[in-house]
Amino acid sequence: MDHSDRFAIQTKSLRKVYGNKVAVRNLSLTVPRGSIFGFLGPNGAGKSTSVKMLLGLVKPAGGTALVLGAPAGDVEVRRKIGFLPEDFQFYKWLTAVELLHLHGRLCGVPRAKLRARVPALLDLVALTPHRDKRLQGFSKGMLQRIGLAQALIHEPELIFLDEPTSGLDPMGRRLVRDIIRAQRERGATVFLNSHLLSEVEITCDNVAFLKDGEVIASRDLRAMPEDEIRVVVCARKISAEIVAGLSKFGASASLEGEQLIFTVRSAEVLPDALRHLVAAGADVYQFTPERVSLEDLFVRIMGEDRGL
């Protein structure tokens, strides 16, 4: 069955080995078209190698990858793909305008169209005042923004962004976030590789968690509020039986002194859970549901021992 209309990216058992080090073990993932997809994982998990394989920069040792319906690296399909590499580097002797014109021409954008497109993009990434400055005078944040502009020069259907907000101040991050959302609004798919979980949480529709070169979990973040709710309860007279009784609400619970913490999958069971506690004789003086943050989820999935 052809899923290329539904999915921008489909990979199956993608693998990459450097010498005797396995960088990507078994990457199988699907990215729906028109979504913002977050790709998360600790350092060395294989995120950048995976992105490079999808872009054709790195040759896979095994497995298959379809990007916009064509094998990864297909030259013609690259007309529809934009890419912002991590730590964007380019010829420092070019000005911002020259850089965008060059990338536009490499993407096959007609000169006449570029004459309108380049100023609009410079405006979008707030670099119009620096349009004629050479890149050698640019700060890291400005380089990231001009890098983002070059990735969008040909209005691609699929955009890979590798750490797009690194080096940006809060205003810059907000700018990038708005641009990413605007891309989704026009129907593009965004593949976002980021360490900043808070950014991913408020930007992405879906996320996949990569560990040791393998996708070990994925989540639909639009469903997250209903997906995981952590409840902190402070109460006296909580017995082990009361805690065990929470399992009928699908909750996993832990009790430390007078503090009970349990997690449920739906907010709908919360009134019943509270009634259960009170009916069983607990004196509840705090009952606080908290949405599980992406960071909590990340730590839980990856394990406490692996930092970002």
Binding site: K52, L55, G56, L57, V58, K59, V75, E76, R78, R79, I81, F83, P85, D87, F88, Q89, F90, Y91, W93, L94, L102, H103, R105, L106, C107, G108, G147, Q150
Partner: protein, 276 residues
């Protein structure tokens, strides 16, 4: 189209980084010194009323020294300007923003090669042509077969350029430079050893020289160029540095051309196959 964009950007890079200007200033300085030297020699000849035949032969020899210097300058300029273009962009990650565009990798490599080849052509034409013009203008001497000589020098530079590109797809800038200069050193030494064999009549030196030329035929191309350009009399005298007692054959020049094409094909293949 991709090739032309890459060739154009290579030219612009050389211009913006003032590589072209610096190379041209160095070339102009060389021409100035060459011209002054020639002028002094001509004045001395006039003061001593040297016979025209001797005068012509000495000035022709000076012209050959000048052209040999042009050859060395051109080869070194070719290596220095191109050694970083692939290796440097691969290690800095700059190439990633280009290689993900709808342009095949062979177009990136060939485009860059074309850009450098164009610059080498311009440089050789200006400095080589300038040297001949200065020698003719001041001393009235011209080399034999100047076009053939210039084309052979150009072939030598393109050969070195292509080898620099080939190793640039494997190694870092510094390693690449060391390898290519090392190969030119092997070719240079082999050429002189072969030259020496003319005096010592050592067949083993000839063999060593030929093997060196097979490893890197750049010096053999220059020796053929020198043979083509020197005056018949100088060629018959076997004691000048440019007297080709063991002249590289046209087969060797054909081999150099074949070497270039194979090196370019390997560069394209390896650049296409490698991870970036």
């Amino acid at each position: 189209m991709g090739c032309w964009i890459m060739a154009g950007i290579t030219f612009r890079e050389a211009a913006k980084k003032k590589i072209l200007l610096t190379a041209l200033i160095a070339g102009a300085a060389f021409l100035a010194i060459f011209g002054v030297g020639l002028h002094f020699q001509i004045e001395d000849f006039s003061a001593r009323a040297t016979a025209p035949f001797i005068r012509y032969q000495v000035l022709s020899a000076m012209l050959m020294v000048g052209l040999y210097t042009v050859d060395l300058l051109s080869v070194v300029m070719t290596i220095l300007t191109s050694v970083d273009t692939l290796a440097g962009e691969i290690s800095s990650g700059t190439i990633q923003a280009i290689a993900t565009k709808p342009i095949a990798r062979w177009q990136i490599l060939i485009g860059k090669w074309m850009g450098f080849a164009g610059m080498v052509l311009g440089y050789v034409a200006l400095v080589f042509g300038g040297t001949i013009a200065v020698a003719y203008w001041l001393g009235g001497v011209t080399p034999e077969n100047p076009i053939r000589g210039a084309l052979l020098v150009l072939l030598e530079c393109l050969l070195v350029l292509t080898v620099t590109f080939m190793f640039g797809t494997w190694y870092s800038t510094l390693t690449n430079g060391v390898i290519v200069l090392g190969l030119c050193g092997v070719a240079f030494l082999g050429g002189w050893l072969e030259q020496m064999s003319g005096f010592t009549e050592s067949a083993r030196l000839v063999t060593l020289g030929i093997v060196s030329s097979l490893i890197m035929p750049s010096e053999a191309v220059w020796r053929r160029a020198a043979f083509e350009m020197q005056s018949p009399l100088a060629g018959s005298l076997q004691f000048t540095p440019f007297a080709n007692v063991s002249v590289p054959s046209w087969t060797m020049i054909g081999y150099a051309g074949f070497y270039l094409v194979v090196a370019l094909a390997i560069a394209v293949y390896h650049f296409h196959a490698r991870d970036l």
